[in-house]
Amino acid sequence: MTNAILTGLMLGGMYALIAMGLTLQYGVARIMNLSYGEVLIAAAFGAQGLFTGWALSPFAGLAFVIPVAFLLNLAIYRVLLSPLVRRARTRDALEVDSILATFGLAFILQGIMLSMFGGAYYSYSYLASPVHLFGETIAANRLAALAVCILLGGSLYLALTQTRGGTAIRAVAVDPAAAQLVAIDVARTAAFTFALGGALVASAGVLISTFLTFSATSGVVFTMKALIVVVMGGVGNMLGCLVAGLLLGVSEALVASLIDPGLTLAVNFALFLVVLLVKPAGLFGRASR
């Protein structure tokens, strides 16, 4: 039981970690980013390259991957997405346009990775050592991912709620038109948030690459998982993201060890359905309009 909860927490931490970037990109910048998983995989390849090529630990690799991902995502937003933002009359229109644009972007990114790395599976071992916690044995790399997730999620939550810049970001998430009236540069804030989301998902990719097997085509799995967590937690809400991720992870692990590992997906979707029925805007979401 302790073991199931521990593994569940770690799995949930991973889910939350995967989803944090998307909740920013979708919640604030209003970009429903379907190339999200591909960015995650690209970062995983980056970490794998740094590790196997230069023997650089993935955690040190973060210092390199995060700024690169931030700048690349900023460029993607400026070049590809800001024309859509300018053209869109309503937020709903922007959502539809961004889905189409990022769907295309997903294929471009996947194609680039396929031509660079081929279609084969990649996996390497880092921190794959046992750690003893509460009398149970768990993997150090998964524990590290959970720790980084809580650290990132916690500090982002504080930054969003306690700082002026964070308040501006939340203001844009709630009402971009009104935010302009109080002298918030909405376009800039949205671009910054999108890039921040990209940096977050890249760090998730780096951490995940230490314990999951990935290939150039496995991005879509992560996009789907992130989407479920984001919608369940409430779009644009960091805390919701964390809670929803952990909830999914723990329920999955409990079902796997108490009932049957074959039912994990069923439980995931059942939980998702129940949350949407009870709180259509997600656990921490406020119904808009």
């Binding site: 396929l114 081929g118 279609g119 996996s123 314990f211 796997a256 060890s257 590992p261 074959g262």
Partner: protein
């Protein structure tokens, strides 16, 4: 004005090209057109990129470097036409139709995986193309071979795989090397369902105690709960009918949890070079599906050529060598017939015997007579250990040595 001139010029060029096409078709065969449809994107990519594509490309290059396929007195180069099936059965069938009707290829190499080979079976049978399925494991193989006489099923049946494993376990139990508790997990997808369905009755019949028998959905990202539960049951034998990502995850998790049964067997992916790269010394004693005669000179030579051709990358130690052999078999059959006569080539495949990297292959009712079903990592190579009657079979190392810190 300019555009219409251009258009006219293009039309002229097209007519000329078409005329040239007729001319070559009428003359003697100057090349053999070989087409294939392969998963270059989508979920099958990981398997196809390791097992199938390197062998197709390597073989085509080797054949052309040697001057081509021998038709009668002269050698004719091969020309490759390839499409991506995006891991979808409809796309694969469409691709094959296009190869046949539009590209008019002389021969077709099969796609990767059981599902896609089953999907393209009917059209290849209808159009009379030889179908050497080198990456399909299905219990339907004998039946399909009868229904489609053009089809050859080189990897055999899942019942064969499961029974060979159980036979090995029975033998080891008779030798008092293992007890009789078995824990079995399987992925809830084609391969895992087939294999576990075949293994369950075989294990029960052999009076093994099935202490754990569960399945998990495809794409499960944390298999720790399974390993923890299995470890608590302390079985002698752990059997996982898994896919590559889970094979790696189950092995890693077992090492971390210190779960070290006397026999540790995992599914697809155990034979992959990636498995060796990732686990290094910890591969010692791990069993899995497949294997090859690593001691044979032909296999050693194949491994060296594969590494040279693929920038150091190694083949997987199961279906890769079988895939390469299927190409050698096709080439030898074409050369014996001496012309592009698909019906005669199929006849030759059914009756002839062929020299390949996996040894002499002769089909009986369109199925090979020997397979490697259980392999084991021993000293950095994945040797076939069962069926024990195969040429080059090694003795299994039991119990599996303890995991070491990486």
């Amino acid at each position: 004005m300019t555009t219409s001139t251009t258009r006219r010029a293009l039309l002229l060029a097209a007519v000329l090209a078409a005329g040239a096409g007729f001319a070559t078709a009428a003359a003697a065969q100057t090349s053999i057109k070989i087409g294939y449809v392969l998963s270059r994107t989508g979920p099958n990519t990981g398997g196809a990129a390791v097992t199938t594509l390197p062998n197709y490309e390597m073989w085509a290059k080797e054949v052309n470097d040697a001057g081509g396929i021998k038709l009668g007195e002269k050698r004719v180069p091969i020309e490759i036409v390839a499409y991506d099936d995006r891991s979808s059965a409809e796309e694969a069938v469409r691709g094959i139709e296009r190869l046949i009707n539009q590209d008019k290829v002389d021969f077709i190499l099969p796609p990767w995986g059981t599902g896609l080979n089953l999907a393209v079976g009917p059209i290849l049978a209808r159009e009379g193309y030889p179908h050497l399925a080198a990456t399909a494991v299905t219990d339907k193989a004998p039946e399909l071979a009868k229904r489609w006489p053009n089809s050859f099923w080189l990897l055999g049946t899942s019942t064969g795989a499961a029974e060979a494993l159980v036979d090995l376990l029975v033998k080891l139990r008779d030798e008092k090397k293992i007890g009789d508790t078995v824990a079995m997990v399987a992925i809830a997808d084609g391969f895992g369902i087939d294999l576990s369905t075949a293994a369950r009755p075989a294990l029960t019949k052999a009076k093994f105690k099935l202490a754990y028998d569960k399945s998990y959905p495809i794409g499960t990202q944390d298999l720790a709960p399974i390993i923890n539960d299995v470890k608590a049951l302390n079985p002698d034998v752990f059997v996982a009918f898994s896919y590559p990502p889970d094979t790696l995850a189950l092995t890693e998790q077992s090492r971390i949890a210190g779960f070290n049964p006397k026999i540790f067997y995992t599914g697809v992916g155990t034979a992959f070079p990636l498995f060796n790269q990732k686990f290094g010394k910890n591969t010692e004693g791990v069993m899995g599906i497949g294997g090859w005669s690593g001691d044979s000179a032909a296999i050693k030579d194949y491994l060296a050529r594969h590494k040279a051709a693929r920038n150091g990358a190694e083949p997987d130690r199961w279906a890769s060598a079988v895939t390469y052999s299927s190409l050698q078999i096709l080439q030898q059959a074409i050369e014996r017939v001496g012309k592009v006569d698909r019906a005669a080539v199929i006849k030759e495949l059914q009756t002839g015997s062929f020299d390949t990297v996996i040894g002499k292959v002769k089909f009986e009712n369109n199925l090979p007579t020997r397979y490697w079903w259980v392999g084991q990592w021993q000293g950095g190579d994945f040797y076939g250990v069962a069926p024990a009657g195969n040429v080059g079979a090694r003795a299994a190392i039991v119990p599996k040595p303890a995991w070491v810190a990486p």
